[in-house]
Amino acid sequence: MRASAYLALVALAAASLLPAGSATAQDSYKIGVTAAMTGPAAATQAPVIEMLRIYVDRLNAKGGINGHQVDLLIEDDQAEPSKAAANATKLVRQEGVILLINSSFSSTYGPVIAEAKRGNVPLWFAGAVCPKETHPPKADPLLFCSTGFDFSVDIPVAVKAIKDMAKEPAKLALVGIPVPISRIGIDGAEKLAASLGMQAVDKEFVPPATADYTPFATKIKGADANWGFAYAPWPAEAKTFEALRRLGWTGQYLAYGHIQAEDELTRIADGGFEIFMANSLFQDDLPVHKQIRDAAAAGKYSFPPTYGTEGWLSGRILEQILTKTGWPASAEKVTASMSSLNLDTQGIRGGPLVWTADNHFRTKQSYRFYRYDPDKKSIVRMRDWLTVDVTD
């Protein structure tokens, strides 16, 4: 009696460790998401995942992909590594997902990558920093990234653009926040600026949730900078600029245009605040922007429709991956499908998004530059797609 009870317990425990998919026949594509839906990274990540969900809901309403529904399992990690680890474990081991998506701070990547590799499940970074392992010439077979920004490509483009735009010798102030990607980007910008003959006169790392940005702006103004370059989450980029203007600073400022940029440029309404970004703005008025706007309205998107571009693009990527994967699906088939992605971005990006066997990042990266024009009272494009090759 005691032995049979013990065996039953062992069997039960073993069964609980098996992926759900192996216990029951799956009739849907199970996709797992661990994302910062709340917490310090949520302002940037939650809009991406919510639009991805809306896209998937629309797909499912039309009958799914290859006749099968897409089951998007979203878990909130609050940008905390321990929660991301628990989410990844649950999604891979219990839910048996065939693809894992991470949209959170880079500090969550370690445990999520480890879990994906243990389960041999492809891991896609959507709307979050691209890890180096996705880059050519030898991308990790399981890691992929579609996010618009990436410091290794963004920083050289931005610093060279400042060099081109500066009418007098640029005295550059650099603005970041104390997280690894922003710090690496800003430190890289400092070195590159020096190599291009520009002087980096100040470098500020502003902590998140700062009560007053004026002390940082005071230092930048005191350093006599005539150009500012910010590579940080949007609030730090924009609020530092606004604090500078309140101190009477008259210089020019370039920042990466995150998802909030379009609405924010209009609110700030300053011709000296320029942005560069990999995604086109709604002011370009492409058919895809109308699609996103309609989907946001129909899906009751919690954010302004302009926040939805990256999430919409993620939805289109997912659709193409699963369409090529076919049915029945497996993690191995999804990985193979992802390794030969060639997606028409419909003008959201400056060209197609291409993933190859050795390049899980993109083969080309393009940027548009925008600013607010006070005379026209609208956002204007300063420079059309500037394309750079991504080789290593």
Partner: protein, 292 residues
């Protein structure tokens, strides 16, 4: 030190002091450390976003409604939650405030998402610089924070010293048992303390949101003001003012002269230093020792 740096210190100290006033009020009267104070401040700012949306053409009405809502929020928190913990261990009450903070953070995301809101933009207000001295500029919103902090502290001082309810509050804080025996209704006094505490927190949240917007991480600023209250002494309003000034000066000196990366750490370094020498804070009351 340049006049601009001094102006920066005054503005930051005003922010911390305005937030700290709420910590001190509740602690002074009920000996409860309200660890949901930052979240209550954030909710105050979000309420302004709501009232601004409703009455964008009438900013004064929107501001008044939001401020009154702050007061009512404190009364409700006391009536619904804290009242039932009167007479229980203080630790239980503190733990309840932690739970309240988590609940408010979750609720705020459910209602307002993680988007950044700018009530000033809803009103169509700009936040231009003001030249207060030659070469010294601060924003209009920052000037309002400094002015309001002075008004709030002066009003609280007068209220606590010269009004019947103020005397009752001080009495309840010193000896609740004796105060009750003398006919002071403790629940009314505690409720008033919570109401005033969230009222001042809401004012801080509203002004901060007018200056630089509100989003779900604003509660962290409440935590950054906590060292100011502790440095000054948790039961001293004057101490909170001095503590805010010390913490702000240390933070800005770190940004300007050492390394901006230290600005987050310095308030807590100051706190550690002061607590090591004077655990009850610079102007706080030494408490009865209940442990060795």
């Amino acid at each position: 030190m340049s006049p601009q740096l001094i102006a920066n210190i005054v503005v930051l100290a005003a922010i911390y002091a305005l937030v700290s006033a709420g910590y001190v009020l509740v602690y002074r009267v009920s000996h409860v450390l309200n660890l949901a104070h930052g979240e209550l401040m954030m909710i105050g700012a979000y309420i302004l976003v709501a009232t601004a949306g409703l009455f964008s053409g009438n900013p004064i009405l929107a501001l008044l409604l939001a401020a009154v809502s702050g007061l009512v929020m404190g009364l409700v928190v006391y009536a619904v939650l804290m009242r039932w913990l009167t007479g229980e261990a203080v630790l239980a009450a503190v733990l309840v405030t932690i739970a309240l903070g988590i609940l408010l953070r979750g609720l705020s995301i459910l209602i307002w998402t993680t988007q950044q809101f700018y009530p000033a933009a809803i009103f169509g207000w700009r936040n231009p610089p003001v030249h207060i001295l030659p070469g010294v500029q601060i924003s209009v919103a920052s000037l309002a924070i400094v002015a309001l902090t002075i008004i709030v502290y002066a009003a609280l001082f007068l209220f606590l010293q010269f009004t019947a309810w103020g005397v009752r509050m001080r009495a309840a804080g010193q000896n609740p048992l004796l105060a009750e025996q003398r006919g002071i209704r403790l629940h009314a006094v505690y409720a008033l303390a919570w109401g005033l505490s969230t009222f001042t927190a809401s004012l801080a949240g509203m002004l901060l949101s007018l200056d630089s917007g509100v989003e779900s991480t604003m509660a962290t600023i409440g935590l950054k003001a906590f060292p100011a209250a502790l440095v000054g002494g948790l039961d001293s309003l004057f101490g909170a003012l001095v503590g805010a000034l010390i913490v702000a000066a240390a933070e800005i000196a770190a940004i300007q002269f050492v390394n901006p990366l230290l600005s987050d750490v310095v308030p807590f370094l100051v706190l550690l230093l002061v607590l090591a020498v004077r655990p009850w804070g610079l102007f706080g009351s030494r408490e009865q020792l209940d442990r060795v």
